[in-house]
Symmetry: C2
Subunit: 354 residues, 2 copies
């Protein structure tokens, strides 16, 4: 095992002391970067880019060349698992992801198999191994998966959804069938994340993009419980080091206490929750990651700096904060503005760690 | 003043005793009803329907013919005010509302006038008067407006928005300019709601559809403060009766305490907050309105009944609850399912009022 040159991110997730607050950005490898758009053109389709480990590695490293980020995140899509289950993922320009054969009846759900990550999802594991090698221990690599509930919404709706009509009809009408689907997805996510850890991911994050569309009761049952089962089954140590788990439910600010009880090391927060309030509520049991409104990056650097200062001040003195946006960086953001944010975080956070 | 035949709704908003929990549905006059679709066809465009007081009255009363609802709500659009300000509202099929001349520079914002409700918005006041007459005091009539922040998002973005890029850039870059815009809209909403009250609205509701897209700090400043100014300037008594004010911020479950301090009589809740928790948090200072997930209506009547029972149980014994969906009824819901919900509320809520 090579010693990490910069382990701030991992230390902060475990609430250990750091010199400055570590920072990365959700979707930091993405369309706002001209070099990403170049590689994407070279690759062909979006899935061609995801399934090519060398190109996936290339785009993963691009933001690190530009900005002194404290973590890299695997470039991939959250829908690789349902694709490997045979649902036929494809992308329509400007339409978002779609599945050729969404799950519409009981028979399909009962027949669903759990993919072997080193077979059907080998391209993801190869990307993890390639990125780890090419990172040369500069910063840690984050692996990730969508949450079972989030994956299930796409699998049942057949793509992005505004109202989640089909899956919610199933939830209220046939809850046991949805439970069955979630158990299968849950098993698949567990294998997938453990394989990413074995392949070299040094932290993992579960993206629960759509848990916030549920009632508190349904969130606990259909989104949080499956995530908790996954967290309890993860390999939490590798290469002699702890592998922290980050749980992020978009619009989940009302449920932080319940999320804390899952055993996650850190919770991701969007910008609708005050970081200081969240810190008091989780009572030092978990680290917090977030939570600048991504739209702040439309403002000019001095205003970005001002808003970064606010987020840092709201967390306050001490350990356990990873700075991030509250959601993925917008594709039409000026990359220099992202740079201004990263710089401001490192510079302005020093006093909070003295 | 004619005595109301059914005043449960007004009594519940003021936390007075009722025999059963009153119920109405956001967008109860709407596309899920075949008779609405008929009138809409007859009217021509959506705005033709809104601006015709007789037809607006007709669709307002349609759901009351079908279901024993405890309130009627004025049929109108939330964007009538910006339209009257000269922004040129129009609707593109499947695209939602658009403005011909969105606000893009300081000059436009400084030049914005406040419409006289009995002039430029006379068609709305005429609709209120017509509906009041045709209701024959069966149930109270609710007037409404969009919140200043919500109206401003459409005015600046030029229509519906996913990320609110333009207005958020203004918010972070030129907060004083946004303040100025909100003050103008705020004055317009105050006049508009007071005119609706004078014309016969017996309760008013402020729809803050997009306040939940803000940070807690920005929500307080740019959305809640303008709403509080409005509430403090409303005529709260008319025809010898109190005119209750309902405040609804979608995705505002984290800010109920602050919302309570505005002086509103009741808060609307979407389904992401537990009604019982909300009740404890607001400590009997306001009534609560909500909060069934509108997608429950995709399930069959026995399952609808089950979920209605859950919402009633979560509020529990006593006064101060108006049953509603947590958001507008979906256009593809079977009207019989809406009926099953209304029936279940009246039937199952009796024990909570004994």
């Amino acid at each position: 095992m090579t010693e990490l040159k910069n382990d701030r991110f991992l230390r902060a997730l475990l609430r250990q002391p750091v010199d400055v607050t570590p920072v990365w950005m959700m979707r930091q490898a993405g369309r706002y970067l001209p070099e990403y758009r170049e590689t994407r053109k070279k690759a062909g389709s979006f899935m061609d880019l995801c399934t090519n480990p060398d190109l996936a590695c290339e785009v993963t490293l691009q933001p690190l060349e530009r900005f002194p980020l404290d973590a890299a995140i695997l470039f991939s899509d959250i829908l690789t698992i349902p694709d490997a289950m045979g649902l036929g993922l494809y992308f329509e320009e400007g339409e978002g992801p779609r599945f050729k054969t969404p799950l519409r009846d009981e028979k399909q759900i009962m027949a669903l198999g759990v993919p072997d990550p080193e077979q059907e999802l080998r391209y993801v594991m190869d990307a993890v191994r390639t990125i780890r090698r090419e990172l040369h221990a500069r910063v840690p690599l984050i692996g990730f998966s969508g949450s079972p509930w989030t994956l299930a919404t796409y699998m049942v709706e057949g793509g992005s959804s505004k109202g989640f009509h089909t899956i919610k009809a199933m939830m209220y009408e046939r809850p046991e069938l949805l439970d069955r689907l979630l158990e299968t997805v849950d098993a698949a996510v567990t294998l997938y994340l453990n394989a990413q850890i074995a392949a070299g991911a040094q932290a993992v994050m579960i993206f629960d993009t759509w848990g916030g569309a549920l009632t508190p009761r349904d969130y606990c049952h259909f989104s949080l419980k499956p995530m908790e089962r996954i967290i309890k089954s993860l390999k939490r140590e590798n290469e002699g080091r702890k592998v922290p788990v980050i749980l992020f439910t978009k619009n989940g600010g009302q449920w932080l206490e319940a999320m804390t009880d899952t055993g996650a090391d850190a919770l991701g927060l969007d910008w609708t929750t005050d970081l200081g309030d969240a810190r008091r509520r989780v009572g030092g049991q978990v680290a917090l990651q977030g939570n600048l409104d991504p739209s702040v990056l439309y403002a000019s650097p001095p205003h970005i700096r001002e808003q970064v200062a606010r987020v840092l001040a709201s967390f306050g003195q001490g350990n356990g904060h990873v700075f991030n946006l509250g959601h993925g960086i917008h594709p039409d953001v000026n990359p220099e503005h992202a740079g201004a944010m990263v710089e401001a975080v490192h510079e302005l956070s020093k006093p909070y760690h003295e």
